[in-house]
Amino acid sequence: MIRVQEEDFDVGIELSKMTDEHFGIGAQSCFIGLVRDMANQEHISAMTLEHYPGMTEKQLRKIEKEANQRWPLNDVLIIHRFGKLQPGDRIVLVATTSAHRRAAIESCHFLIDWLKTKAPFWKVESSLSGDSWVEAQDNDEREAKKWETENT
């Protein structure tokens, strides 16, 4: 399931909902991305996320489908927030469930790597010296590319 929203989410509730009454699930893996209070040696007071409504949902659904094709999963959950966030706030939740740990852990890792470079979000960090756009990292691109060549 895919959700793009401004409001926060409750990790415990979201994770429980995925496994309740699903007794074939033996493994659940999750990743939570948070807003840091430091960037480039500067104190960050806020991070604002902008996205491309419509395309964001399409891209997330595509990434979800790709994970389901590569691993035997019971379920995938991606919740991605937008709007103005404070340090310590949750940005993203990725969770996967499967019969066994390997599929759950690997697919979760894959999903967050792909989100970094394929989900249409852009971030602005606010500090005392003003606002600056978060630049795409070369290593994010490399991490995402790794999954294009690796056989699972």
């Binding site: 991305g33 902008e50 996205h51 491309y52 419509g54 395309m55 399409k58 891209q59 991605h80 940005i91 993203v92 967050i112 989100l115 970094k116 470079t117 394929k118 989900a119 249409p120 979000f121 852009w122 971030k123 756009w133 978060v134 630049e135 795409a136 994010d140 691109e141």
Partner: protein, 83 residues
């Protein structure tokens, strides 16, 4: 044609979106960007380094040599930073 801008492309141009009447000689994204860049100001600044420009046509990621049609929705933006 409907144009959408995101990230620092939007900030530099100073617009979220606009509708343009495309000259008939413009057939691909590169030509579209070149045409927009000629407007100068924020457009010139936004499209200075094409290595940092990504494009989606009708909400599908594509490349700068992709064909554009007058009824397309074309979005121009910097590399995405999701997650």
């Amino acid at each position: 044609m409907q144009l959408l801008y995101f990230g620092w492309v939007r900030a530099r141009i100073g617009k979220v979106q606009e509708t343009v009447n495309l000259p008939t000689h413009i057939k691909d994204v590169s030509a579209l960007i070149k045409w927009l860049k000629k407007r100068g100001g924020g457009y010139h600044e936004a499209f200075q380094n094409l290595n940092l420009i990504r494009v989606a046509i009708n909400q599908e990621i594509t490349t700068l040599d992709a064909r554009v049609d007058p009824d397309d929705e074309v979005a121009l933006f910097p590399p995405m930073t999701g997650g």
